[in-house]
Amino acid sequence: MIQEIDYFAIAAPLTLALFAGLVLVLDAFLPARPRVRPALGLVTLAGVLVALGFVVAQAVRGGSALSTFCVPPGLNAPGGGCSYVVDRFTLILAGLVLVAAVVVVLMSMTELARGDIPVGEWYFLLLCTLVGAVTLPASRDLIMLVVALELVSLPVFALTALKRYDGRSSEAAVKLFLVSVVSTAVMLFGVSLLYGIGGSVFLDRLGAVLGGEAAAPGRPGAGASDLGASVLGASVLGASDLGTSVLGAEHGLPGVVTVGVVLVVAGFAFKIAAVPFHAWAADVYQGAPIPVAALLSVISKAAGFAGLILVLVTALPGQAGAWVPIVAILSALTMTAGNLLAMRQRSAVRLLAWSSVAQSGYILAPLAVAPAGTGAGASVAYLVMYAAMNLGAFAVVMLVSRVARRNELDDYRGLAFRSPVAALALAFCLLCLAGLPPGLAGLFAKIVVFREIVDGGAGWLAVVMAVNTVIGLYYYVAWTARLFVPVTAIGGAVREGAAQAVVAPRSAPAVWAAIGVAVAVAVLFSAAPQLVLDLTTVT
């Protein structure tokens, strides 16, 4: 069999992969001069921008979704299917990942300027992660999904550990490695169960089987009459009731489907740091270099959510009765645990780590009430806005970390007097995360989620989220207030040396560019949230 490959469809990940190779080659053959470090960064940046250009071109092209790596119908499964589909959902998430990558690369250029991290390897690994993150939302079969997800995760262990001779960093890498491997194993188990029942790896085909619209192959007694009965059952029940009533027994699907669903959800829950698989977040974020922490909290998380949404909405809508309550409870626990843990933090990065766990809970919430697909739209909208504001906060934290090694919240006291622009940027991003004006992006993101929940009738989840919003506000505002407290007014608490240093724009142009990009996007979303909503409502 000869497959036709649509190279335009896979242009973005292909570009990134080629640039990854190029960076490695350049690093090997260019002389080790100080100028090479930023040059490699610029090459990486160019790769990301070219890939972004392809994504934009695909988006502008319009028309029907591009698809490639297709199996013709009747070859080995009825109906056939495509493994790689570029539709609206794919484009939004790929665009999100690549814009976030621009910010992360800019932050990396500053991080690498110190010289204790090998440059070529860093950018190579970074680009590999991006290949995975761009491929993942386009994946439409289970194998591709798992491979892409591993491609996102594996380079990140190495990136975390690249800060050599640093105990914390090594510990973080090992933790991340163990957690990730366990989660992959759990997910693979679930995936294999689903494949075993559905007899196909393609998500839409699985959806048909698990939703009772098509007969499960290889099941004893599966025949035309049974198929007819199940279709009849579905039509009698009506589409809206499908979610709650179609469980294994009714259509003769074995109960093990539920096990498979739960295992797959658990595997993704590890990736997005949802409770009870959240414990790794703070240590890993703190140990990793800050650009990697930003990458984990935005790109890696976006990839995890993309996979989760794809599996739940495309493959498992028929099993909604099994996963909706699980996701709802996970969401409530995640936001509560994240917020409560964040309140106790003194380190800026740890606080952001727990806050991003809490934000994961908010992103999960709409999935738990509206399995029909609008919920996924709200989740993606929140994810897009969250990415902008969280990256902005990380960029400023990165800037401050250059003068305050320990990077505790007290180091931010009086930042408004030393570096007003940085302080305003951070304040804006934190208020966005808290969801208060002037951070309208965060406010509207929360309203979108609340609307979805209230509309879906999950009042208890809305109340839990409301309380969590208030808890979250406590630590965001406490941090914001620190920025504007003059250092002189706190007497003995003045930290000697580092905190007093002026953070000059000249010293780290790349980070300032990163802050500029992230905050500009956040401001844009605040003024015109419709941009995001337009993109995400149709999914």
């Binding site: 007097f417 309203i447 609307r451 209230v454 509309d455 109340v463 409301a466 207030a481 909503l533």
Partner: protein
């Protein structure tokens, strides 16, 4: 004419943005910049008042209706009717008066936070904060879209937080955090209620929803939505038992913060009842009204009793706000034209009178460096006759003397309770009326007690007549001349008062030094002396205070303190910058007191419209 509505929001916003964009150019003119921007806003508000078609007071005028976020069906829909117009003008006026208070004359007096002083007064940030606050306040009253209302409702939180946390008193951090957490919890619950309304009706348009009078929403949903929205608004109002953030916030806020908090922010809560909760959810309102009324009268009595127990002037006024807002809520709970009219009238009157009271209390605190009533020592009418007179006027207006603005609103609210509408149980509301009437008597009692403590009586200390008024300006150059004894006297009283109130600062040395840092111009002198005398006096203050702390101080330490230390000698009577801010409030209080029809004619048609089927 829709541009007026937009301009009312755009002008302060543009003013704030300009401060952010061109800080250098505006720094020298900062003192007049705030008054100019808010003055333009006030002029716009007056234009609106003049051009308002009084014959059509029930309908929204100056309307603007543009789509903003179609994905959320959120429209940029602004407009005013008879209910919101007085509040818009009140907001513009109070903000302007606050700026005038801050910037008039040399701007060097203690209450005028715009002057440069060691430790960083950050005038630019203050002007910025107040302008953003104004955007949120005016926007709330103009918004005719549920989510837009919510957005503006939220905008005020952060500026007010910083106003308290940066420019506030000793316990400011705690008070500010309490304020923002409480009010955010309230507004998030309100958001859930608003979204519930949206989910049921599919529109966010307040005008359309108000005209529908709850059609299309089952009773159970209406009750639930009313409860959720009501809780959100009640936190802001504040209604007993959700009021506990208020006394702390008021006590710690700077003068202008207290004025705007009492004068405008509380009104946002009550306005929400008139604009959203009652017209959109009438059945919910009927179901919840008895509870609302009950909590309102509890608030009236509780506020009055709490006031009787207060020692701090600002805290007492804060609790009096709880009582006054109780009358407003009782008016709403009656669901009658009379009651709601009274509530809206009391709303505006409270904004004027309590704004004035907080201005005066701030002036007193700046002069005496304490708001503790026993420490003020009485006899203010003798020592500072004009200030004492204004305080007396404001207190009497607040207690509801007929002929002043405070009377009509409370009277009408109680009258509404005599014959409640909407099929509410009459006996219950008669009881509320009686209890509310008793509360009004208690209100008179605590204000009179306050006056007898502060303005009347013999001044406990001879006011330093030898010092000519002009020479004793307590600015930095005179400070080093303060002898060792007097400086700490006010400082330790302040610290002791704090210890009584908040249970903190048992270490006299530490609190003395902390207080010194607060009064920047005297910090140098105090830091040396506070450790000596602060130590000696500090040990006994917590126990001695309830008796009469000033008398326990050694005579020789006290009298020179009164002579050329800060309190008495530096105390000037009402200053020009204060007069500028206070006179309009006094005039309006008199005007509305003598001619209540001015306001009632505006609100009556709108109230009849909003009650719809209930009346």
């Amino acid at each position: 004419m829709g541009w007026v509505s937009v301009a009312l929001i755009a002008v302060p916003l543009a003013g704030a943005v300009a401060l952010l964009v061109a800080p250098g150019a505006l720094r020298p003119v900062l003192r007049i910049y705030g008054p100019i921007v808010s003055g333009v806003t006030l002029v716009l508000a007056v234009v609106m008042l003049a051009a308002f078609d009084h014959g059509q007071a029930a309908r929204p005028q100056f309307a603007v209706d543009q789509p903003w976020i179609p994905g959320l069906s959120l429209r940029f829909h602004l407009g005013v009717d008879g209910i919101s117009l007085p509040l818009v003008v009140l907001t513009a006026l109070l903000t302007f008066l606050c700026f005038a208070y801050l910037g008039w004359g040399g701007g060097r007096r203690p209450g005028q936070l715009l002057s440069a002083r060691p430790g960083g007064a950050r005038p630019r940030a203050l002007v910025f904060t107040l302008l953003v606050l104004e955007v949120g306040m005016i926007g709330t009253f103009l918004a005719l879209d549920l989510l837009l209302f919510f957005v503006f409702f939220e905008i005020v939180l952060v500026p007010m937080y910083f106003l308290i946390a940066v420019w506030g008193g000793e316990g400011r951090r705690r008070a500010a955090v309490k304020f923002i957490l409480y009010t955010l919890l309230g507004s998030v619950i309100m958001l859930l209620g608003l979204l519930l309304v949206w989910a049921q009706t599919g529109t966010l348009d307040i005008v359309a929803l108000g005209d529908a009078h709850g059609a299309g929403m089952p009773r159970a949903v209406q009750v639930l939505a009313f409860a959720a929205i009501g809780i959100g608004l009640a936190v802001k109002t504040p209604m007993w038992p959700l009021h506990t953030w208020l006394p702390d916030a008021h006590t710690e806020a700077p003068t202008v913060g207290s004025v705007l908090l009492a004068g405008v922010l509380l009104k946002m809560g009550t306005y929400g009842f008139a604009r959203i909760a009652i017209p959109i959810l009438p059945e919910g309102a009927v179901a919840v009204a008895p509870w609302l009324g009950a909590l309102a009268v509890v608030g009236i009595v509780y506020g009055a009793l709490a006031c009787l127990a207060q020692r701090d002037l600002k805290r007492m006024i804060a609790y009096s706000s709880v009582g006054h807002m109780g009358f407003v809520l009782l008016g709403f709970a009656t669901l009658t034209t009379v009651g709601i009219n009274g509530a809206l009238f009391a709303n505006v009157a409270h904004g004027l009178i309590t704004g004035l009271l907080f201005f005066v209390a701030g002036g007193i605190k700046d002069r005496y460096h304490t708001g503790d009533m026993p420490s003020l020592g009485g006899g203010m009418l003798a020592t500072l006759p004009h200030l004492g007179a204004v305080l007396t006027f404001a207190a009497i207006a607040s207690l509801g003397l007929p002929g002043l603005a405070g009377f009509w609103g409370e009277m009408l609210a109680l009258l509404g309770a005599f014959q409640p509408g909407g099929g509410l149980p009459r006996g219950l509301f008669l009881t509320f009326m009686v209890i509310g009437g008793l509360g009004a008597v208690l209100t008179a009692a605590y204000f009179l007690v306050m006056l007898s403590r502060v303005t009347h009586g013999v001044p406990s200390v001879p006011a330093g007549p030898a010092v000519p008024a002009g020479a004793a300006v307590p600015t930095a150059p005179t400070v080093p001349a303060v002898p060792a004894g007097p400086g700490p006297a006010p400082v330790t009283t302040g610290a002791g008062g704090d210890a009584v109130v908040s249970g903190m600062g048992s270490d006299a040395v530490a609190t003395g030094a902390g207080a010194g840092a607060g009064f920047d111009e005297r910090a140098a002198a105090v830091s040396a002396t506070a450790e000596v005398t602060g130590d000696a006096a500090g040990w006994e203050t917590p126990d001695e205070r309830p008796v009469q702390p000033l008398e326990t101080q050694p005579e020789q330490a006290r009298s020179p303190g009164r002579d050329d230390g800060s309190p008495a000698a530096g105390m000037l009577d009402v200053q020009r910058y204060e007069l500028v801010a206070w006179v309009p409030l006094i005039v309006l209080t008199l005007l509305f007191g003598l001619w209540p029809k001015l306001l009632l004619s505006l609100t009556t048609p709108a109230v009849q419209n909003l009650l719809g089927a209930l009346s």
